[in-house]
């Protein structure tokens, strides 16, 4: 090797070493106080529960066993863990319903913004981002106030004579659904807008020239062209909706649990840390699958570049 080549090689190595040093603080921080401790949760899911919370350091498959099955304490018969399936099903159902609702509302909204004159678009977008950056707890609280028995909706309907007694909306699955849709709508609108903004309206025009109806154009031209945005928005809503904790707690009223609340329960009152850990790992796996699906389908056509 010539001296020049050797010097170049050393410089490249030094550069890479420097880059690792530069990123070391961020990586260490995340490893210690971010996602590193997830490894402990993974290990805990294979241990036996301690009597007052915590774990005993002995291997036990019961954490995972209890996620899906339950053993009768009297006659040792094994059956499906019905209570868990109810919660899994509610979580999945609510997360999917939230995604669909956000899409149905968010698509026209994003389309409306994208079809404004370029100068005023950022103002409309700003109006979408304000609620997004407001504290999630405050927004949840605001929804609770509106739909409670003495809230605006019930009192308005009663004053109009449409209702005799208030309809119980707070502390139901419906309340959770409304809250999740409200909180997550901006997450749907932003990627949809990004896609719609790039839409080539000459193609739409061509559709009209070929005698397509408005709905035909929407369904067969606009929607297929904005598919990456639709997938991105759906995943961005679906993933946090799936792992909601605060919204079902405040709006569902502690009875209509989702998987996030079930996890909390195992580390709190339930005192079954291995079960809570196994549930956490399950949730992470489901989320990861959704994210991988997203990366495969919503990426830029040219592939994503790093660096």
């Amino acid at each position: 090797m010539t001296d020049v080549a050797k010097a170049g090689e050393t410089r490249r190595r030094n550069d890479i070493r420097d880059r690792w040093l530069l990123s070391a603080p961020a990586l260490t921080l995340i490893a210690i106080a971010g996602t590193g401790p997830l490894l402990i949760v993974l290990i805990y899911s294979f241990l036996a529960p301690g009597s007052y919370g915590d774990v005993k350091w002995e291997f036990s498959p019961n954490g995972w066993f209890n996620v899906f099955l339950s053993r009768d304490i009297f006659d040792n018969t094994v059956s499906l863990a019905d209570a868990h399936y109810t919660i899994f099903w509610r979580t999945l159902r609510l997360a999917l319903a939230t995604t669909v609702l956000c899409l149905l509302l968010g698509f026209p909204l994003a389309y409306f913004i994208a079809s404004r004159p370029p100068g005023s678009r950022s103002i409309w977008l700003f109006l979408i981002t304000i609620p997004f950056w407001t504290n999630m707890l405050i927004r949840t609280f605001a929804i609770a106030e509106v739909i409670r028995n003495e809230g605006i909706i019930n009192s308005l309907l009663m004053r109009l004579g449409l209702l005799v007694a208030p309809v119980q909306m707070l502390f139901t699955d419906f309340a959770t659904l409304v809250g999740m849709t409200y909180v997550h709508l901006p997450l749907m609108v932003l990627p949809l807008y990004a896609s719609l903004e790039k839409l080539d309206f000459r193609l739409v025009e061509a559709g009209y020239d070929l005698y397509a109806s408005r709905f035909g154009v929407l369904l067969r031209i606009i929607v297929p062209l904005t598919r990456p945005g639709i997938i991105a928005g759906s995943i961005l809503v679906f993933v946090p909706a799936l792992s909601s904790y605060v919204i079902p707690l405040v709006l569902g009223g502690g009875k209509n649990l989702m998987i996030g609340n079930l996890i909390e329960l195992q580390f709190g009152q339930g005192r079954n840390w291995p079960l809570g850990a196994a549930l956490s790992v399950t949730l992470v796996l489901v989320v990861m699958i959704a994210v991988i699906f997203y990366m495969r389908n919503a990426g830029e056509p040219g592939g994503r570049a790093h660096g």
Binding site: A26, L29, A277, H306
Partner: protein, 269 residues
């Protein structure tokens, strides 16, 4: 048809959009209006008054929680932004090297992992550390907040760095500037809007956090959001609305500054 045909129009979309804007702002508006209610109810209007703002101001717990929130958010935002800036410098303007993609994924991982799972993991880990060290101060909260703020600070800084001209740094190096001088006199001044955006984003994110704080905090370490969560389980007075209103104003002003900054940046380029 009286109206001219527009290819961009889709019937009903504008109506849905307006309805969405209305629904997005109605609950927030109602919340703010009832903060000024003279009565003790959050449902029946009994006239205008500022009494709940006064009562929140005199509530020792609220004031303490607010200060704690602001202190944690300020320290966490600075820590996260410093780490994120260095990490962004390490991952931009470079030929691909081994571990780059992994590094990028790891930095963004806090965005992907469900908050409740991170919260539980930190609860388990930090409760061990508390037993070993006997230390149970605000440090745990600050560390946890810094960690989940890193990706939020990283994104705008990295975006700004990407759009910067790498040859400026090389020109400075040709003129015998040391790497530190290059960073101090060339990179940082150009990078500053990105750093500032990252700092503010991290601050807002830290200020908003409920779930991780709820699990990591020791007793007596309530932040404003966890205090509010605790109160929501009891009978609610308009004092909650008053606190929320002030909190809203703070977020709103931060977001407005952020918006104006990014707008100017777009005009520049």
């Amino acid at each position: 048809m009286a109206r001219t045909f527009s290819v961009r129009r889709q019937s009903g979309f504008a109506t849905v959009a307006m309805l969405c804007f209305f629904l997005l702002y109605l609950p927030i508006a109602a919340l703010v209006v009832y903060a000024f209610n003279a009565g003790t109810s959050i449902a029946i209007w009994e006239g205008f008054s500022l009494r709940w703002f006064v009562s929140a101001w005199n509530n020792q717990q609220v004031v303490e929680a607010s200060w704690r929130s602001l202190r944690i958010a300020a320290i966490a935002a600075v820590l996260a932004t410093a780490c994120a800036t260095l990490a962004a410098l390490a991952t931009t303007h470079t030929a691909p090297y081994r571990g780059l993609t992994a590094k990028y994924a790891f930095i963004n991982m806090p965005l992907l992992v469900p908050e409740i799972v991170t919260a539980v993991a930190l609860l388990v880990f930090f409760s061990r550390v508390k037993l070993w060290t006997g230390y149970s101060g605000l440090g745990y909260l600050i560390l946890a907040h810094s960690a989940f703020c890193v990706p939020f600070a990283y994104l705008p800084i990295r975006a700004r760095l990407e759009s910067m001209d790498a040859s400026l740094g090389r020109a400075a190096a040709d003129l015998y500037a040391t790497p530190l001088q290059i960073f101090r006199h060339v990179t940082l001044p150009l990078l500053w809007p990105g750093v500032f955006a990252g700092l503010m984003l991290a601050f807002i994110i830290s200020l908003d956090d409920v779930v991780i704080t709820e699990f990591v905090k020791s007793s007596g370490q309530d932040t404003l959001p966890t205090y509010m969560l605790g109160q929501l389980r009891r009978a609610i007075t308009p004092e909650m609305n008053a606190i929320s209103t002030v909190f809203l104003l703070l977020s709103l002003s931060l977001v407005t500054v952020f918006f104006c900054l990014s707008r100017n940046r777009k005009k520049e380029s």
